[in-house]
């Protein structure tokens, strides 16, 4: 059996082992791989920086735990931290029942918790938790927030939250930031929220696999910008200077896994072409 033939028939467990080692090394010790900042992330940062004092920002935590674990969690934490450093009002909510419990998890982050001390619940930020109904729920919220949401995550009525006194519909919201796993996500917010308030600025925190689907909305100007998966999260953390060794390890592990997949692609195809050549030669 030729070398290439043996290579093609390699045990799948060896492939898994190589990947496991490649991911494991940075998880044991951060490699601090170099990183460039993409223009999209800079635009995302600048859009939040440019928010006038008193602006009302909605942060939609429309995530599943799977997406939150690796890519969207760091995005959500960095975005929340950035918002809390600004004199703006923040409404946290989720149209994903799986995303709502994670809002409080974001607040536990060391950098977010540090800024949270300077903010007052009910006056500077609120958590409206899960809003059922998917896209229809979004439409109802846009039309009349008070009719759609009775109370916040603690059961406090909206009337008892001073911040909500002047926030009645989508027209009272300046910016929407969606940290999204899938549907409902950015396109549904576009249809139901931005279509009702053309001045609504939108930013998206997207999974790496969803980036291609979101690009057309950035090009059309409907989204100001987007964070591109794990890469976007790491870049944003670096701009804000809130990088922990765990974040570096996570980003390095992602890069290593991508590099390994590329090497497998190359080796697999070289083997395929070599075998094809051998067969052609025999003819």
């Amino acid at each position: 059996m030729s070398f290439w033939k043996k290579l093609e028939a390699v045990d799948v467990r060896i492939i898994y082992l190589i990947l496991w080692i490649a991911i494991g090394i940075p998880l044991l010790t951060p490699l601090y791989l170099p990183l460039s900042i993409s223009p999209d992330t800079v635009l995302y940062y600048k859009a939040i920086e440019a928010l006038p004092a008193g602006s009302v920002v909605v942060l939609g935590m429309d995530v599943s735990p799977a997406g939150y674990g690796g890519e969207l969690g760091p995005q959500a934490r960095a975005t929340t931290y950035h918002l809390f450093t600004k004199p703006v009002k923040v409404i946290f909510l989720s149209f994903w029942e799986t995303g709502a419990p994670l809002i409080q998890d974001v607040w536990k982050n060391q950098f977010v918790a540090g800024e949270l001390k300077n903010k007052k619940y009910g006056e500077d930020y609120v958590n409206l938790h899960w809003i059922p109904g998917s896209e229809t729920g979004m439409a109802a919220f846009a039309e009349d927030i008070w009719k759609t949401v009775a109370a916040d995550y603690k059961g406090t009525k909206l009337a008892d939250l001073p911040m909500m006194a002047k926030i009645k519909s989508i027209n009272d919201i300046t910016m929407l930031i969606v940290i999204e796993t899938g549907t409902p996500g950015g396109p549904e917010y576009l249809r139901q929220w931005q279509a009702r308030n053309r001045n609504l600025k939108m930013l998206i925190g997207s999974l790496g696999v969803s980036v291609p689907g979101n690009i057309p909305y950035v090009a059309s100007g409907q989204y100001i910008s987007l964070l591109r998966g794990g890469r976007g999260a790491t870049e944003y953390q670096r701009i804000l200077n809130i990088v922990t060794p765990t974040d570096v390890q996570s980003a390095d592990a992602m890069t290593m896994s991508h590099v390994v997949v590329l090497v497998f692609l190359l080796v697999g195809n070289i083997g395929y072409l070599a075998l094809k050549g051998q067969k052609g030669g025999k003819k």
Binding site: I15, P34, H129, G137, T148, R228, R231, L262, L273
Partner: protein, 225 residues
């Protein structure tokens, strides 16, 4: 149940709600807007009832699997485990809501503990396993068998590395135009394709909406027609 009550009444209700929502969107009539908002609020209530129906249906389906188990077969245990976890977790949630007496989403520590330490961890682990399948597929399946497959393979490799956290910094010096190439693939061929898909899907959604409105599309009423 008569034919009218079984088919025509649900179709009439659907059409009425749809016409109301469309009218309220395109015509600024305050009464229509108020009625549309009310109907949307009803929908939110109905969704909560649907959760209960879903709960019962899942239990029924898995109970059937347990009842029909064959000797030596062990897969029924997963169904039993699912039912047990479903009931225990639902009870934890209900207890959490009841204990606060506010009607707020549960903040019960046990409920949150299960969510953060079991659901989040397991879901993330399942998603992470994809990396291993992709690695295996990249070696064994993704071959440049034709010219088209070769173009797809090269584009995929560039896009993948462009999206990796340190991809462009590592490979940038090797290929000076790496970043521009990654940007170009995403912003030109990808965007053209996705725009086509988005517009096609929108046209499809409109035609489906018209079919539902006119009662031609009845799939949502249940199996059969």
């Amino acid at each position: 149940m008569s034919f009218y009550r079984k088919k025509e009444l649900p179709i009439a209700i659907t059409a009425l709600c749809a016409v109301l929502a469309i009218f309220a969107t395109y015509f600024k009539v305050p009464e229509a807007k108020a009625a549309s908002t009310t109907v949307q609020t009803w929908m939110l209530v109905i969704v909560n009832f649907a959760v209960t129906v879903g709960f019962v249906m899942v239990i029924r389906m898995h109970k059937k699997r347990i009842d029909k188990r064959k000797p030596g077969e062990k897969s029924w245990m997963f169904s039993a485990w699912l039912i047990a976890v479903l009931i225990v977790y639902a009870l934890l949630g209900i207890y959490g809501v009841e204990s606060t007496r506010t009607g707020a989403p549960t903040n019960d520590p046990s409920f949150n503990w299960v969510y953060n330490n079991a659901v989040v961890a397991l879901d993330s682990a399942m998603y992470s396993l994809l990396a291993f399948f992709i690695a295996s597929a990249s070696f064994r399946a993704f071959k440049a068998r034709t010219k088209e497959a070769g173009v797809l393979l090269i584009s995929a490799a560039i896009t993948m590395l462009y999206n990796a956290p340190a991809g462009s910094t590592i490979f940038g010096p090797l290929a000076p135009n790496f970043n521009s190439l990654g940007e170009w693939i995403l912003n030109v061929p990808n965007m053209a394709g996705f725009r086509g898909i988005t517009i096609g899907a929108a046209v499809g959604a409109i035609s489906l909406g018209i079919r539902v409105l006119t009662g031609r599309e009845r799939g949502y009423l249940g199996a059969g027609e």
